[in-house]
Symmetry: C2
Subunit: 468 residues, 2 copies
């Protein structure tokens, strides 16, 4: 990780924006300049600007450039930061950059990274690159890379790094300080050293604060904390993120079943995970995988198909429900105008239930002992809101069409469909969670499917029985 060379982030962000505009100007003028002299000058300027940028800023810049300009700029990125930039860009953009590199460039970029970082890139790299990089690693790094690759995505093992500093419990703090002084620097996010025995079994943690504040002759075992938060590498990252948040951690040891230390989780990895997870969720809700803002129309269109196909299927189904009642609609055409209201409001209300239940599930706030009570509460709220808003809609229908029976059908249908929405909105996330799917992603489609189809069925059904 690099030192930050900025005085002020506002200025820094402005610099990225400014640089983006400058680069655009340089690239544009470059296309029209034929004099080799001026051409080279503008490119030297580009090179100088890029040389001074933080890899994360370069990544942000590349994500904001259309594909052709992105690849021109990519050629000018100093090769010693290629690997860091690849780690920072989004998956979709990374794909476009890797596709533009040859095997040698990829090997050069990858070799500079730590084992855990190589593991992050591995799924996107050609096999020959991985084989070559693997053979260039030390024995220890190979074991680390193998370990990092062996854990599924979104587990602690896949997110951990191997930059932990370990000490023995029977030495004095000034010995520890002398040992540390031989290192060039401490790894980023080192707020504590891990105390282990000769078999690498974790005995405790020595906080940097204690190391500095306690008397130099104190033994490690006298100041170390023995009750510390540890993670198993197979643990899901979501749980680790909650623990980091809850206990305000900066780093934590990862240990195997025998309490042997195998790696380290840091807040930096957790923050990246939280952000990516939130992003995946907001895109996943509308059926999208990560999409490069500047990918081709054709590629983007295809990325959106599955979702549209699923929704077209549910819409067709709802349409056939309406089709069952075409006779009734022919007799009383007001039904056609009113039926979308019944479907929409129950969908909106059900989505409120979904949002609350999904949040409660994420924080593990729902358990067997309170689930039934919560369902009862949601149904009661639907009852209250059904009577209230059903009456509003019923009066609207009555006034508009001068048919009081139509008003009552409207009220009845709204009430029943809000109850459907509350029940489905509560049970679908619980069910998805139970079968191991992310409740944040699939719940809304299933809910809307139910409230649309049932809304049409209930409203048109009641109307057929009581009105026509």
């Amino acid at each position: 990780m690099n030192d930050i060379d900025v005085k002020n982030t506002r200025r820094r962000v402005d610099t990225v924006q400014q640089c983006l505009e400058d680069i655009k100007v340089i690239l544009e003028s470059h296309q029209y300049i034929e004099l080799d002299n001026r051409k080279e000058q503008s490119l030297t300027e580009l090179q100088e600007r890029l040389d001074s940028m933080h890899p994360a800023d370069i990544a942000a810049l590349l994500e904001q450039l259309p594909l052709d300009e992105r690849l021109v700029v990519w050629k000018f990125i100093p090769s010693d930061v290629d690997g860091d930039v690849l780690l920072e860009v989004s998956d979709a953009v990374r794909e476009t950059l890797i596709a533009d590199m040859d095997t040698q460039e990829l090997i050069a970029a990858t070799e500079q990274l730590d084992a855990d970082e190589i593991a992050d890139l591995a799924p996107d790299l050609p096999e020959e690159v991985i084989a070559d990089v693997f053979s260039s690693l030390s024995e220890e790094e190979r074991l680390q890379l193998k370990a990092a690759l062996s854990y599924p995505e979104d587990t602690v093992g896949a997110l951990m790094d191997f930059e932990m500093v370990t000490v023995r419990e029977d030495v004095a703090l000034d010995v520890v300080l002398r040992y540390l002084r031989r290192l060039e620097r401490l790894p980023p996010n080192t707020d504590k050293l891990f105390v282990v025995d000769r078999r690498e079994v974790l005995k405790g943690a020595l906080s940097i604060s204690d190391l500095i504040v306690a008397a130099p002759e104190t033994k490690v075992c006298d100041v170390m904390s023995t009750d510390i938060v540890t993670f198993n590498p197979g643990r899901d990252a979501e749980g680790a993120a909650h623990a980091f948040e809850r206990y305000d951690l900066v780093s934590a040891p990862v240990v195997d079943a025998h309490s042997r230390i195998v790696g380290r989780m840091t807040i930096t990895d957790i923050v990246d995970y939280i952000r990516e997870d939130a992003e995946q969720e907001s895109l996943g809700k509308v059926g999208l995988r990560d999409e490069d803002l500047f990918s081709s129309v054709w590629k983007s269109a295809k990325n959106r198909w599955l979702w549209l196909a699923v929704n077209l299927g549910t819409a067709f189904f709802a349409s056939r429900v309406i089709g069952l009642f075409e006779d009734s609609i022919e007799k009383l055409v007001a039904l056609a105008a009113l039926m979308p209201i019944v479907a929409a409001i129950a969908g909106n209300s059900g989505n409120q239930t979904v949002a609350l239940i999904v949040r409660a599930l994420a924080f593990e706030e729902i358990n067997k002992s309170n689930a039934k009570g919560l369902l009862r509460k949601e149904l009661s709220i639907a009852l209250v809101n059904g009577i209230l808003w059903g009456s509003v809609a019923g009066i609207f229908a009555w006034l508009l069409y001068g048919n009081i029976a139509l008003g009552f059908v409207m009220l009845g249908a709204m009430l029943l469909n809000l109850i459907v929405g509350a029940g489905v909105g509560m049970l679908v996330p619980l069910f998805l969670q139970k079968i191991g799917r992310d409740p944040a992603i699939g719940s809304s489609v299933l809910l809307t499917f139910s409230t649309d189809s049932m809304g049409f069925l209930i409203f048109l059904g009641l109307a057929t029985v009581f009105l026509v």
Copy 2:
């Protein structure tokens, strides 16, 4: 801010769950036990369990308890952690706890907190409590509290703390180490000391890593980094969060316009902010403010009204659009069954555009130079998808109703409405951002309003012109 007394978080989380169940058993048996002896025994057990829990775990426990049980447990929380627990619980739950405390209890709980923490609680506290706490603070703390209260929510100033350790640039590292040894501990998240001159003007930062690793006789100014990320207290927290993520920061100084240090941002505050922001967003999308899972039916119902009222309004409007074409529907009732498909698919497709644009806006990836190109791209995708899925829907309509003209009207309406969805889905988030609203929250309602109303208008309009 407390030490963590846990070996393993999995076990820890289990402990919270176990404790929850035990407490439920204790509370239930307590209600039926009349013998004072056994009653006291079970309560002693409850007290012991709560005494050993981390404030964040107590907060999680309280959030999972229905109101009456929550207040019983709250009485048993050791009073020296009351303040910490209040800081950890959600706004809605905090309200219920504060309502249950008298002035003296609130003052006792608040007095133990730091100035920045008091500022976080202040909006929920009665005025007399704040006045009393204020008068008990030192002069320095009063200034800090005033400063923290003076910044609007979601700015750096509102999130910063005042626990920064500052040193002078002309001293040697061993002098710094001796100075630190006089402190009892370093503040949490201290990965660097701030180097200031006698007027508190920031000169640089001394990383703890350099402090430990460099030779003791080195002067601070020779190892300190002078190019560091700083924040202005008026800066929006979102921007600070991006900088922490991008540059992997653990702490950063907050400086005023004269570069004088006024506070400190830490990754702990940033992580809490990110999580709360994500939560507010997912609830805000369905028109909810923070809701206590166990609040009364009546209170919850009211929390959901505004959203339902807004959506009922838009649904009424769409209904009146359909009303314009009742004659056409009466003549060709198939229109009633098909029209929701046209509205729904454009809504789904437009919501994909919204999700991508909202994400790009959050990462500042959209600017004047690329906005037009992106709009063109989204419209092109809508064209491709409109022709494709419009044809599928058109063929469906043709086969079902044996009317090829109806199929073409379906195709035309789908195509046009997908274009409406793409345009609105792109422009609405940009517009909301421009007028200073959160594009993640209002975009979806406005989009669905447009695709519903326009979907009905286009489909029924085309049908009226070409079919009936």
